[in-house]
């Protein structure tokens, strides 16, 4: 007999990519299976897409000096996702910002910098300089171009990890990777409760808003968490600071991440853009006021 009360999700959390990974299931017996599937997905993306390890596929591509490089399916899909992100945002989310991130000293994993970097600016070559051949499984960058897939690969990994955990463990699964959240399978009654804040490392009681999602994905981009690390591809400099934090829900975590990142870069024009796409979003201005669009609930909002 249903009591009408939601079953309490069982969670497991650990550190990854300088942040926190979380997997939640509704049946305790399935937690280990789900976590193993998530860890395998994370490791596969780390081997393929990390710019923080010299032996990753992406590091090999960035060092190829203009030559075509054979790549595996994970990096192929991640690059394809990044190029699609650039296309649908008119270049606001551009994977060729790698050089600009290096120039700005933002190419190091959070917490690993031992001294303040020397900041300079670099021209972003543009995503059209990337030649990806999905059928041949090769990629070629123009000499000097460096890819950084951080804006989209983590969200894609969350989507893939949730799907893998759901397939491995069955039942409803939620996966959070550094603030990017994806769900798969049946959600608990009332949805998966999620706290939306400026920094995913903050506690569950940090100022923000509690909401619930039942499917798809949720992503939050912020200039608060580790400084202003969002680069405007058109200038090679940090993006505008109209919004300090933007959260978006979409059919996938990847699409949510693309939209939230692009919204930070678009500044004041982001509200109309998100509304035109029918995306539910929460935008927090630099002075701490929240704006809700596209059906994002106002209930429980602590920033007004």
């Amino acid at each position: 007999v249903s009591t009408g009360l939601a079953a309490a999700p069982i969670t497991s959390a650990w550190s990854v990519w300088g942040g926190t990974a979380v997997v939640a299931v509704l049946n305790r017996d399935r937690l280990e299976l789900a976590r193993s599937a998530v860890e395998e997905t994370i490791e596969a993306f780390d081997r393929a897409c990390s710019t923080f390890r010299a032996d990753s596929e992406l590091s090999r591509v960035n060092a190829a000096g203009g030559a075509a490089v054979a790549i595996g399916p994970v990096l192929r899909d991640a690059v394809a996702a990044a190029l699609r992100a650039a296309a649908v945002t008119d270049g606001d989310v551009d994977p060729t910002v790698g050089g600009a991130l290096v120039a700005l000293g933002l190419d190091r994993e959070f917490g690993s910098a031992s001294s303040p970097p020397t900041v300079s600016f670099a021209v972003v070559p543009g995503w059209r300089s990337v030649a990806l051949d999905p059928r041949a499984g090769t990629i070629r960058l123009a000499p000097g171009v460096r890819l950084d897939l951080g804006a989209t690969a983590k969200a894609l990994a969350a989507d893939r990890a949730a799907a893998a955990a759901h397939e491995a463990a069955g039942g409803g699964v939620l996966v959070g990777l550094g603030g990017d959240v994806a769900v798969a399978g049946a959600a608990p009654a009332g949805g998966w409760p999620v706290r939306v804040t400026d920094d995913h490392r903050s506690g569950l009681d940090a100022r923000g808003q509690s909401i619930a999602i039942a499917d798809g994905g949720l992503a939050t981009s912020s200039i608060v968490a580790r400084g202003h690390h969002i680069v405007d591809p058109r200038t090679g400099a940090p993006a505008s600071d109209v919004w300090r934090t933007v959260s978006v829900t979409a059919a996938s975590c990847l699409d949510a991440n693309i939209a939230s990142t692009a919204a930070l870069i678009r500044g004041g024009a982001a509200v109309a853009w998100l509304s035109s796409l029918g995306l539910a979003a929460r935008l927090v201005s630099a002075d701490g006021r929240a704006t809700h669009v596209g059906g994002w609930p106002a209930d429980g909002e602590e920033l007004v």
Partner: protein, 151 residues
């Protein structure tokens, strides 16, 4: 044999003169042929401009054979020229999902201690106790399982 002037014989002079005339004739023939060819080309281009051999009327048999050749060549190259499948709608733009909901709140009847308290209150004020039992009690919402924030 009689010698003339520079020591060549009359026969030799006659031979050299004949060879000279042959050379002149050959050069004249080549020049005339080139001029004639150019003249004919100018004449044809003026009389029938735009006409080419490709506009020649071929026989029906030749046309049929040529069509068979084109069909065979097209079928042979189909695999390498096949267009990729159409992109799915989700690959063309950002896809909205269901909007998030407010965080779930749980409401339930009074707990055992609350019932006892209500019963005590009922002894003092029956009407107030009945009202207290009828009203749901708001308890804490389920805690979030994850934080979505910047990274």
């Amino acid at each position: 044999m009689p010698r003339i002037g520079d020591g060549r014989s009359a026969a030799q002079l006659e031979r050299d003169s004949a060879l000279h005339r042959i050379g002149l004739t050959r050069r004249f023939a080549i020049g005339a042929a080139a001029a004639l060819t150019a003249g004919i080309a100018v004449l044809v281009s003026a009389v029938a401009p735009g006409r080419t051999l490709g506009a020649t009327q071929y026989s029906a048999a030749y046309k049929a054979a040529y069509q068979r050749y084109l069909a065979a060549r097209a079928s042979a190259t189909t695999p390498s020229t096949k267009m990729p499948p159409l992109a799915s709608p989700s690959s063309l733009g950002l896809v909205a999902g269901a909007a998030p909901q407010p965080a779930p709140t749980q409401s339930q009847g009074p707990s055992a201690s609350q019932q006892a308290q209500a019963q005590a209150q009922a002894q003092a004020a029956a009407a107030q106790a009945a009202a207290a039992q009828a009203a749901p009690v708001q308890v804490a919402a389920p805690p979030p399982v994850v934080v979505s924030g910047g990274s």
